[in-house]
Symmetry: C2
Subunit: 346 residues, 2 copies
DNA sequence: TATTCATTGGTTGTCGTTACATCTAATTTA
DNA sequence: TAAATTAGATGTAACGACAACCAATGAATA
């Protein structure tokens, strides 16, 4: 390949204009396919642009247009299957519309989340999409977006208090209901529950859904079998050991993510507990690991694709219609259905 | 929370300057902690900035400085465990230095990769980090970066032909050697090999490493048991069916990723083939799934953290030293060691 | 023939920040 | 005491693209 160090100087539309004896405005219009430019001129301009090695300067363009064409995204961790799928789907849609996605990870740290929000705010992203960190209970770091009318959409892990942003969440309440009902139908009345912290919308709602159906079925959830904590494998093992340390032992475990469900299966295997005969397990998220382990785990699918689809739709709508932003007092919340994927642990 | 729609107008440093009766230049310096500004003025400026709801305009700043403070990243898929870990590690390091990472996915499509490279080129990223798509054999879409002296680093899946960019790759040749030796030591002489396409550096080198040790051990790799294809679960199943359709059957399978290794374990389970007694399996990447399946799979760890560390180091070096870019004819290639994680499939 | 108007293009000014070159007053040095 | 230095602040000119407004041409219409 050829290296052309002479071309190293950046050319601007002014250089093209000079070379062609036209004005910079004409060049700008030609490159942007403005209809006010004749086909002939457009062609001349574009050819000269290539010849000179011109490249569009989006900094200048952004400054002038007051639009960065960048959407900020804050997720807890991209390594979570749900979010990885979501990101991919969202990115594909936005790319078609000429937007880039700035993907950031909070690592489930409130402090990092705050810092990222500020950075993205200063970076002048055209919109922000957020799935909150585990313990975020104050949303002041997003106020700037609200005040400036910059589209702000929360998805999956959304604010638990009233906050004037758009919200697209999974039907976590229903997820709790489905899981609870399923276990009841399987004849379980002694259920252990390993959940994420209740500061987080998704776990709070799943818990409510679960408790609702258990109450209806007159099944009580023993306090000693309930855990609300970060859902790591390590925490799961600790809780499982605690659960199975006593004389009485549960018939089922509802784990609020699949990492925990996987840990439960491994724990049972280690302890020689038969699944599903002696212990039923249901997870959440439909992570690929849930289907690979033996026995494969019954879990709740959150349909990240569908969620991304809805977020993208709403986002592009808000981005286009300045009005939509002002008058969106109603209809700010959408719920995406969940479905159970039944496998061999129940 | 309070919504202050009056504050909606964007303030610039000029507004701060006016409000304070100083010049815009002074405000700029004060906000950037330039030492040529008195402590008193600096404080006054910063307070007024907060009072007016000022936010830094990085578009204007970028235009002026000719630096976007954004690093482009192109990966095949963020859902691949190796890349997810790599991204997270890289991002954490760059964030500390004030850089943002623009993460893009090629979805293993050459066309998408080309489009992304062009977009990132026009977006004026300060540097580009790339892991190539499966079938990328031409690198012209990165020439712009080379010509302009913009730092360009390939990692993991790197160009197979000579290309004047920086390269940080895993020791895939050694990975092939290790896997091959391990299987030979286990007494296997009939080995099936499911690899990615040889257009891709990593698979090419693993293949060479494997062939080298097999030759040394006088073990031949049967053509009918060699596959070079996209490493999806579906392709894996097809190949496995083909492999086990004949009379003769292999003693071991070397799968060049863990998706394939997982498929092999599942296939063996379905066919009632005993692992590792009748069939040994070794994978590649140390994906979490490899440790969760039963039996857990022996695999090669590529140390994505370490690779990210090296990429970040080189990147920041190139970004700082303009000279480093010019005189980097030598030392453009680094190799990151791999290690085998032995589990129950061998 | 006079008037309209569509087509094509040019002129000017602006976006917000910051580097460079100055400038002023106070302080230090010879 | 005069000259030199310096701390602190200022003014101005880009950076590159593009929107808003304006101007010239020629064809179509009245």
């Amino acid at each position: 390949m050829k290296i052309d160090k002479n071309e190293n100087t950046e050319k601007s539309i002014v250089d093209i204009a000079k070379a062609l004896g036209v004005s910079a405005a004409t060049v700008s219009r030609a490159l942007n396919d403005n209809p006010r430019i004749s086909e002939a001129t457009r062609k001349r301009v574009k050819e000269k642009a290539i010849e000179l090695g011109y490249r569009h300067n989006s900094m200048a363009s952004s400054l002038r247009n007051k639009k960065s064409k960048i959407i900020g995204l804050i997720v807890p961790r991209i390594s979570m299957y749900f979010h990885a799928v979501f990101i991919t789907a969202l990115q594909n849609r936005l790319q078609n519309e000429g937007y880039s996605l700035m993907v950031c990870q909070s690592n489930d740290s409130v402090a990092v989340e705050q810092k990222l929000a500020n950075t993205l705010y200063s970076s002048r992203v055209d919109a922000l999409v957020v799935s909150l960190a585990l313990y975020t209970e104050n949303y002041a770091h997003f106020d700037g977006f609200i005040n400036r009318g910059i589209p702000l959409i929360f998805y999956d892990r959304v604010p638990t208090k009233d906050y004037p942003a758009h919200i697209i969440q999974g039907d976590d309440y229903r997820g709790g209901v489905i899981a609870g009902n399923h276990l009841i139908e399987m004849g379980c009345s002694k259920i252990a529950y390993i959940s994420g912290p209740l500061s987080c919308s998704i776990y709070r709602e799943r818990t409510e859904g679960l408790k609702h159906v258990l109450k209806k079925a007159k099944v009580t959830l023993a306090k000693k079998w309930c855990f609300y904590q970060e859902l790591t494998a390590e925490n799961a093992w600790n809780s499982l050991r605690q659960i199975f340390a006593g004389d009485e032992v549960p018939e089922a475990i509802f784990a609020s993510n699949d990492t925990t469900a996987v840990a439960a299966v491994e724990f049972a295997r280690e302890q020689g507990i038969k699944i599903p005969q002696e212990l039923k397990i249901i997870g959440y998220s439909n992570d690929p690991r849930a289907s690979i382990i033996s026995p494969p785990i019954t879990t709740i699918d959150q349909h990240p694709d569908e969620m991304a689809h809805r977020v993208a739709y709403k986002l592009l709508h808000l981005l286009k219609d300045k009005n939509a932003r002002e008058h969106a007092e109603t209809n700010r919340k959408e719920i995406v259905p969940v479905t159970m994927v039944r496998r061999m642990t129940t």
